[in-house]
Subunit: 69 residues, 6 copies
Amino acid sequence: MPYVNIKVTQENGGLTKEQKSELIEGATKLLQDKLNKNPETTIVIVEEVDMDNWGIGAEQVSDRRKEGK
Amino acid sequence: MPYVNIKVTQENGGLTKEQKSELIEGATKLLQDKLNKNPETTIVIVEEVDMDNWGIGAEQVSDRRKEGK
Amino acid sequence: MPYVNIKVTQENGGLTKEQKSELIEGATKLLQDKLNKNPETTIVIVEEVDMDNWGIGAEQVSDRRKEGK
Amino acid sequence: MPYVNIKVTQENGGLTKEQKSELIEGATKLLQDKLNKNPETTIVIVEEVDMDNWGIGAEQVSDRRKEGK
Amino acid sequence: MPYVNIKVTQENGGLTKEQKSELIEGATKLLQDKLNKNPETTIVIVEEVDMDNWGIGAEQVSDRRKEGK
Amino acid sequence: MPYVNIKVTQENGGLTKEQKSELIEGATKLLQDKLNKNPETTIVIVEEVDMDNWGIGAEQVSDRRKEGK
């Protein structure tokens, strides 16, 4: 019963349903393949964070994107 | 000063204010009753997660609900 | 399939197995009673944090305990 | 590469972009000054939580604010 | 700069260094392949939780394992 | 009543009590100065993570340190 939490910045309108599904499948498969964990009790939560709310290099990602970073 | 974080899927329009209040009261009371923690410094945070963003069994909960799971 | 994370300071040698069990049972029952969630897919994780690592009022809990707070 | 997560209640329309930037800068500087951590790989995430979803003293912050707390 | 947090129960003496490395590689590759994220700023944290501290079905995993679950 | 969680790798024997205190004070002061938050209900939790358990660039920090990164 692993718990996986994936946080990414919300960019270009946010992730599509399909992209979220791929992350969920991929993370579940990773734990099944490597640690033989049961997918039926593996929880994966994908969180998208506004670029104003995510900082790296002491800058908001929203500003970094404007600078082409 | 316990910290309790409760994550649930956002279903049927989401939790009502009353339901959130019941979770907050219940979790605070649990820690007071079992561990004698002071309610005044017990933080409870309820997070609702979109069903597309929550996976179990390698599937998005939104899809599982369509399949009656 | 709720996810509940309970963080408390590690005090007096830490929680007993029985106390952890009571928190797990209580949190699971709370979500079953209030939101009709299935206990079989409700994850509860109890985390104990060293008192040096937990701050409130800009002080480490370890110091506050020495001051009788 | 520290990871800092700051959760606050969403009040008065929520934090401005400038306030979020100040929290990101301040947290990054704190880790640089105290632990000599590299800002370029220091992640800071600011999360605002609805006052109905945040409880303290077994009450929702939304209700506490109405009572002037 | 995604942030991935993987929590699993600590079983059979805990994960080997190699298993942790596989989880880190796999999670980083997943985000690179699916969302074109830069591995150099992708943080993956693996947390092992004592089986007494992890509950599912209102039971501690330590007890479930004794019951062959 | 902000909640601040700081995760850093455990290096060189881990943080001293004094370093943890400085992070707690600094984070609490940051929220007081910038958002006028009450220190008495500001929780700061410092978590140290084993270098084998923290990955960046698809590598464990323990290995990166051996390579002088």
